[in-house]
Symmetry: C2
Subunit: 236 residues, 2 copies
């Protein structure tokens, strides 16, 4: 749903945003960006864009949380990234691919800032600093993806679940009470899709980890009792 009450990037609190960091040098430039920005509002579990669709925009999260995923056979999707405030997504569409290679879904109520692809390409051409930093950002993402690939190809089920929980903590942190998934953003199925499992396996391993006093579960909320033990599971 289009949202017209858009704030100017200058006033935005997401200091990690690429636009905020690299594209507000002059007043003309920031006016230009403000004019070309459009904002959409999504409630929880709405599809933002779908794999296979024509790439027409580059997106940033103003507020909220989003999962980025790839569709697999038999509804077995793979979640690629969990992202939140200030994060860029849909940027793989910058490659020669004409179509989105991923889908994105809101997992909380969310506000998304977007730019037309053509405008963003112009912005890149006129802002070498942005291009340069985006290039470095991609290099870093590649490192992380390749680390994940290596991990998932050697981890057993228990290690994969630990990895999934640590990814959730990495993306969204812990509450004061050391809880994750507090707003019930992700189902067991989602957690499974972070690391290539099924929901059944996740449930069982969570029960094991509860047994081992590493965590407690209360419906979808997971309370971490011993973070170090959780980390030890993946540091073989």
């Amino acid at each position: 749903m289009r949202f017209n009450n858009k704030i100017n990037c200058i006033d935005c609190e997401n200091t990690n945003c690429f636009i905020k960091k690299h594209c507000l040098e002059s007043i003309e430039q920031s006016d230009n960006i403000h004019e070309n920005k459009f904002i959409n509002r999504y409630t929880k579990n709405q599809l933002i864009f779908m794999e296979g669709n024509f790439v027409d925009s580059i997106n940033f999260i103003q507020s909220g949380r989003v999962k980025v995923f790839k569709k697999g056979a038999f509804g077995k999707d793979q979640i690629i990234r969990l992202i939140s405030n200030g994060d860029i997504f849909g940027h793989r569409g910058l490659s020669d691919a004409e179509k989105f290679s991923i889908s994105a879904t809101s997992i909380t109520d969310t506000l998304i800032c977007s730019f037309d692809k053509a405008f963003f390409f112009k912005l890149l051409k006129s802002t070498p600093e942005l291009t340069y930093n985006l290039m470095l950002y991609f290099a870093n993402e590649l490192n992380q993806e390749e680390k994940k690939l290596r991990d998932l190809s050697i981890f057993n089920v228990r290690e994969k679940v630990a990895k999934a929980l640590l990814m959730m903590i990495d993306a969204y942190g812990l509450t004061k009470e050391n809880e994750i998934n507090h707003a019930h953003e992700l189902s067991r199925q989602d957690i499974a899709e972070l690391v290539g499992l099924n929901s059944n396996q996740v449930t069982k391993i969570l029960a094991d980890l509860k047994e081992d006093n590493i965590l407690e579960t209360d419906n979808k909320t997971i309370k971490i009792i011993n973070l170090n033990s959780l980390k030890e599971i993946v540091n073989i």
Copy 2:
């Protein structure tokens, strides 16, 4: 081994090389690049650089073949890419990581062109066209890595072996006789490490595929009899 008989990029036949494509606009620039380029020669199965080492260079393959891999637990490595003439590697070191996140080993006799990291950063700053295209290249690599991640998380052993063979064909092609691994570049263990298996599993599945008239094996050489059937295995 340092190799002093270096050819000028202008005369190089690797038209897919980033330097060849984007950095030879002026005579001063190409002279500058020639001066700052150094070339090393490697025989088969030599370590070019190792994960954890300080990143000091960005590298391109002048001729030969290289495997790029990550070290895992218990010697279970994961091969990330198979590369050849004109391909860039070590570029993930451009991220904020100080150390190489990957290792690289020659799998044939190989000539490698390298630039000091500091020089390459200067080159990027002074050649926005290079930075821009490198950024697009990374976006494309991310797409491919994520596709691989999704595939490996849902494929069974047979599908993984088919995927590994197709990756080898994609990287190095087929001979006139439809053979891969003709120069015995990769062992069964290497093929396993492309897709997170062990050498035993690869051997068994190759025997199955032989049974199904999809391929023939003669020691390390694999002759593809029915490429379409091989592709069908991974297109579930």
